[in-house]
């Protein structure tokens, strides 16, 4: 700074004193963090499934020090040393390295996108790395460590760039980034699931990648990863000054001569490299890249000396290591060591991250990443290009949708391993069909019904959620309902063997609605539910609760049924397999009530999707309307979960397509969306059943694969239209 500027502003009362105090404060915090890490590491080393006592481990460690008295010929001590060196030190080193890498990556992403919610998970880096590794494994090539890391890096970079480009990095809309990232991650995850299903022999050993565990078979992987992490960390430290300046804002940074675009690209590449190394070493450990930077920034707000990136980055690295090691220690404290060997660390970090995300969301507007997290939803209007559709066009669209729907439903009824024809269906309806035909139709009709009703309910719920949240990227599955239903269903099915259909559905619906009520309660905060529901908070809290429910489901499956997960997978896959007529009743009832209600409320929906003031001016009670419509969406989604399990993307894509075809008026768009949703899921179920028969691909995977490219196209279009 020149003397002119220092003269223009009054200098702070104790200039140099404050600076050195800040440094002292920063140093103290870093030292305290390092001490905590050492303490946790010692605890980490003492935990494990070997029956080696603390005293033996300590003795073995001491004998390794140079100058110590020579180790005795005691075999037990040799074994203790071997356990320590071959099993626990690599595990600890992997935990620390992953924590450091993910902490740095998260901080970089948050700094360049000025979004407190950016992290390797939310920009789909892990999903991209996973699918790249799976694709290579399918070709039959087995890769050594560095080549595998390179493949993971390439995949992660492609996914991250896709998300960051379509979500318009740097814009003041943190929610958009999270939504885009979670949608892309969902699509890539489905692609990976399909590959694992189709090529089980080639992809053996990749199932654990979905989890993220620090367990190591030896020191090799850690020794190879360590140089990459160290080099990467040093390289990103070179960006510190530029990142500090970029925190002032894009324009200010440009005017100060910082090459913003290039810095962003370098930061993203660095972040993806670090994440790729972490993923190659230990699989995707979720949410560390979100927790560590947020905790670091919270500390930095209390201690001013930590704000510049030169100190923030090491602090974030330290915090990341602390989070992962603490998660491991906590897991082994709560769960017996043998079982803990199979429970991935990612489950604990996901639970912790979900709690942190909820906390963050409630303080929206206070915690920032150099830029304030906006308090309003900046998602733009929900309607499409804005032209009114003519009556002829609307009728044409309705006719075509109805015809396609009938045709697809008929095709789904007729096609399968046992092809039937319309005459057979007529016979079956009259009870005159032969045994084969009646059996085939008996189990096919509920499946087709489930697909149609589930798709319709999800599309309707999607319309409601998108109108209320005023964000075209919102999806009913993000409100915590579907993962809650899955968690409830899986828990009941695994804990109570041989339970019937009604108890499972009842518990699933109950847990789903409880999860939804929790989301609404947490999002409303102290103002209560009537005082206007801040919609982006609802979305973020919903994502947090969804993640927590997913982690709980994984934990339940691993603890209670590690050898027979099929019962759980049927619910989680989004499939119509084995559906009976009773499971359709909730969805049918919800649709019968929900569709007329939504049509009656079409005008309210139109007003809600404009902004906050117009409805108030026109006499609509904002809080009550939002609450009522969201509650209806919740009930519809829970009913759809009973019918088709955890099916994604329909609630996102169908309303969009409807609005693109017939315009933004909900009186027209809602029925068309319902028809399109039913059509999409029915077609996905048909394709999944018949393409690779007798192997069945779950309808949820097909909708994700079909819906993802369309969703990316949507994002691009809405990004360029502003």
């Amino acid at each position: 700074m020149t003397s002119a500027t220092t003269a223009a502003r009054p200098s702070p009362p104790s200039g140099r004193g404050a600076g050195s105090r800040a440094s002292l404060g920063a140093g103290a915090v870093l030292a305290a963090g390092a001490l905590a890490l050492v303490a946790l590491s010692v605890a980490h080393l003492l935990q494990g499934s070997a029956a080696v006592s603390v005293a033996e481990v300590v003795r073995a460690a001491l004998t390794q020090l140079p100058g110590a008295p020579g180790a005795g010929e005691d075999a037990a001590r040799e074994q203790a040393v071997a356990v320590l060196l071959a099993s626990r030190l690599p595990r600890l080193a992997a935990a620390v390295l992953c924590g450091v890498a993910l902490g740095l990556a998260g901080t970089l992403l948050q700094s360049v996108s000025r979004n407190a919610l950016a992290s390797p998970d939310t920009v789909a880096v892990n999903a991209g790395a996973y699918v790249a590794v799976a694709v290579v494994a399918v070709t039959g090539v087995s890769l050594p460590f560095y080549a595998g890391g390179l493949v993971a890096f390439a995949g992660g970079l492609a996914a991250a760039l896709l998300v960051l480009v379509v979500a318009r990095i740097g814009a003041d809309d943190p929610v958009r980034l999270v939504l885009a990232g979670s949608a892309v991650a969902l699509a890539l995850g489905s692609l990976t699931s399909v590959l694992l299903l189709l090529f089980p022999q080639d992809t053996l050993g990749l199932y654990a990648w979905g989890s993220g565990s620090t367990a190591q078979g030896g020191p090799d992987a850690v020794l190879r990863a360590a140089p990459v992490v160290v080099v990467g960390a040093l390289a990103v430290m070179l960006l510190c000054q530029r990142l500090d300046v970029m925190g002032l804002g894009e324009d200010a940074a440009r005017s100060l001569g910082v090459p913003v675009g290039r810095t962003r690209l370098l930061a993203v590449v660095g972040a993806v490299l670090l994440s790729a190394v972490a993923v190659t070493l230990a699989g995707p450990i979720g949410f560390v890249g979100l927790c560590a930077p947020v905790l670091a920034r919270l500390l930095a707000r209390g201690v001013p000396g930590l704000a510049p990136h030169a100190r923030l980055l090491p602090l974030a690295a330290l915090t990341g290591a602390l989070v992962v090691v603490a998660a491991d220690v906590l897991l082994r404290l709560l769960v017996p060591a043998d079982v803990a060997a199979n429970v991935p660390t990612g489950v604990v970090t996901s639970l912790a991250g979900a709690v942190l995300l909820v906390h963050l969301a409630r303080r929206l507007g206070v915690v920032g990443a150099g830029g304030a997290v906006s308090g309003t939803v900046g998602g733009g209007t929900v309607s499409s290009s804005g032209t009114l559709a003519s009556r002829r066009r609307v009728l044409a669209v309705a006719a075509v949708t109805a015809t396609l729907l009938v045709a697809t439903a008929l095709a789904a009824l007729l096609l399968g391993e046992r092809v039937v024809l319309l005459g057979d269906v007529a016979n079956w309806a009259q009870g005159l069909a032969g045994r084969q035909v009646s059996f085939a139709l008996d189990q096919r009709v509920p499946r087709v019904g489930a697909a149609l009703l589930g798709g319709a309910c999800l599309a309707l719920a999607g319309c409601l959620v998108q109108a209320v949240c005023r964000n075209p990227l919102a999806e009913p599955g993000l409100l915590g309902i579907t993962p809650g239903a899955s968690a409830g269903a899986v828990a009941v099915v695994l804990l109570v063997p041989g339970v019937g259909v009604w108890p499972v559905m009842g518990v699933a619906t109950a847990v789903a609605l409880v999860a939804f009520a929790l989301v609404l309660r947490l999002a409303a905060g102290r103002a209560g539910l009537g005082g206007g529901l801040p919609v982006e908070r609802v979305l973020l809290v919903g994502i947090g609760v969804s993640t927590a429910a997913g982690a709980v489901t994984t934990l339940v499956v691993l603890l209670f049924a590690p050898w027979s997960p099929q019962l759980a997978l049927t619910w989680l896959a989004g499939s119509t397999w084995g559906r009976s007529g009773e499971q359709l009743l909730p969805a049918a009832g919800a649709l019968l009530v929900g569709l007329p209600a939504a049509l009656l409320a079409a005008r309210v929906l139109d007003l809600l999707s404009l902004d906050d003031d117009v409805p108030r001016l026109l006499g609509v009670r904002l809080g009550r309307a939002r609450l009522g419509l969201l509650a209806l969406a919740g009930v519809l989604t829970a009913a759809a979960a009973c019918a088709v399990g955890a099916l994604g993307f329909v609630g996102l894509v169908a309303p969009h397509a409807a609005r693109a075809l017939v315009g933004g008026r909900h009186a027209l768009a809602v029925p068309v969306a319902v028809g399109l949703g039913a059509l999409l899921v029915c077609a996905a179920d048909l394709l999944g059943r018949t393409l690779l028969s007798p192997t069945e691909v779950a309808a949820g995977l097909v909708t994700a694969l079909l819906g993802a490219p369309y969703f990316v196209y949507l994002l691009r279009r809405s990004a360029t239209s502003r």
């Binding site: 499934s49 070997a50 071997a82 356990v83 060196l85 071959a86 099993s87 022999q201 053996l204 050993g205 990749l206 654990a208 990648w209 367990a215 078979g217 030896g218 090799d220 992987a221 699989g283 060591a337 043998d338 060997a341 199979n342 391993e417 046992r418 092809v419 024809l421 005459g423 057979d424 016979n427 009870g431 005159l432 069909a433 032969g434 045994r435 084969q436 035909v437 059996f439 085939a440 008996d442 189990q443 041989g498 019937g500 259909v501 050898w563 027979s564 099929q566 019962l567 997978l569 499939s575 397999w577 084995g578 559906r579 009976s580 499971q583 059943r689 028969s693 007798p694 192997t695 069945e696």
Partner: protein, 344 residues
């Protein structure tokens, strides 16, 4: 005649070909969908001419009583252990879930590779099962109850547990007896169980002759989880562990088994809890799965190298293709494998 102003120019006639083509295609598709596929006149309930030898049969499975009009001749099996039992009894298996997997992992009773595949063991295709028109479907209770109920409405379904860790061998016997009664092969079933008992007695005698009665052992398999090895141990509650008990061997891993299959999990570090240095470490592997995990992937692991059975060279591999959740056929093969491993 003056030219019409542009605003009043008549619009070009709308193309009618596309909707017409679409309508024609739709009609054509609809016409192909008409008709029926059943060649015989649909009567109320087709019969398969099974009212021959043997009258009605009732068996009890995990869900209750199952009634068959006659002993089943053609059976679809949805789990490998049950298939093995059926083949040992000489029953015709007309459909199987994951035929290729069966012929890789459970080869003691081989199945004709041309047998129709009805899908994966976790999610078999009900359509495919129906298309085969079986007399009976046998499955384990690992499949969703609602699905079993659906199947049971049309085809008799016998649902048994995969195993029972309270008494695995007793459950094996009751499984064989249930299947034998349902298929009218009671004589073959009795012979099968008698042969198995004789095999066990023979194994006990061989162990005594070699002076190895009461020898310590563990049976394990495992897989490579992207670098970390997971080990699965067979406690005395498992089928194979119970066979080891019958032979008089002492299983060194007794805790942590699940209530169905008696399996316990740990990692390589946990194997250090096996303290008896004379323990024989018996493991199962399959070349189709990438070969022997315990000798290849763990060869460089320092913890593995320190284990007493590794330093004492008491690591033995069982032959490929023995199914540890099977019936008397696999059981007899395991008797041989365990005796060979412990006495060699």
């Amino acid at each position: 005649m003056p030219l019409l102003p542009p605003a009043l120019r008549l619009p070009a006639p709308r193309s009618r070909t596309l909707p017409a083509l679409a309508a024609a295609a739709a009609t054509a598709l609809l016409l192909t969908a008409c008709g029926t596929t059943e060649t015989t006149a649909p009567a109320g309930g087709a019969e398969t001419g099974s009212s021959t030898a043997g009258g009605a049969v009732t068996v009890t499975d995990e869900r209750g009583a199952v009634e068959l009009d006659a002993p089943a001749a053609s059976v679809v099996s949805l789990e490998w252990g049950l298939t093995e039992n059926l083949l040992s009894l000489g029953v015709d298996v007309v459909g199987q879930a994951d035929v290729e997997g069966y012929n890789t992992w459970a080869t003691v009773e081989p199945l004709d590779p041309a047998t129709p595949d009805v899908g994966t063991r976790g999610e078999p295709s009900l359509d495919a099962i129906v298309a085969l028109d079986p007399d009976l479907v046998v499955t384990t209770t690992d499949i969703d109850e609602a699905v079993i109920a659906q199947l049971a409405e049309q085809v008799p379904v016998i649902a048994l547990r995969g195993s029972d860790s309270a008494d695995p061998l007793g459950y094996m016997r009751s499984t064989v007896e249930t299947l034998a009664t349902a298929t009218g092969t009671q004589d073959a079933g009795e012979q099968l169980l008698t042969d198995f008992d004789a095999k066990v007695a023979d194994g006990q005698a061989r162990l005594e002759a070699a002076g190895r009665t009461g020898a310590p052992f563990v049976l394990a398999d495992g897989w490579d989880d992207a670098g970390a090895v997971s080990v699965r141990l067979y406690t005395p509650g498992s089928f194979v562990g119970a066979i080891g008990d019958e032979l008089g061997l002492v299983n060194q891993w007794t805790e942590g088994g699940d209530p169905d299959y008696g399996l316990a999990a740990t990692d390589v570090e946990g194997l250090t809890r096996i303290s008896d240095p004379a323990t024989t470490f018996v493991y199962g592997a399959n070349d189709a799965d990438g070969g022997s995990l315990f000798t290849d992937a763990l060869a460089g692991n320092a913890v593995w190298q320190q284990l007493p059975f590794v330093t004492g060279d008491r690591v033995r591999r069982t032959p490929d293709g023995l199914w540890p959740f099977g019936g008397p056929a696999s059981g007899s093969a395991y008797v041989d494998a365990l005796v060979t491993a412990v006495t060699s």
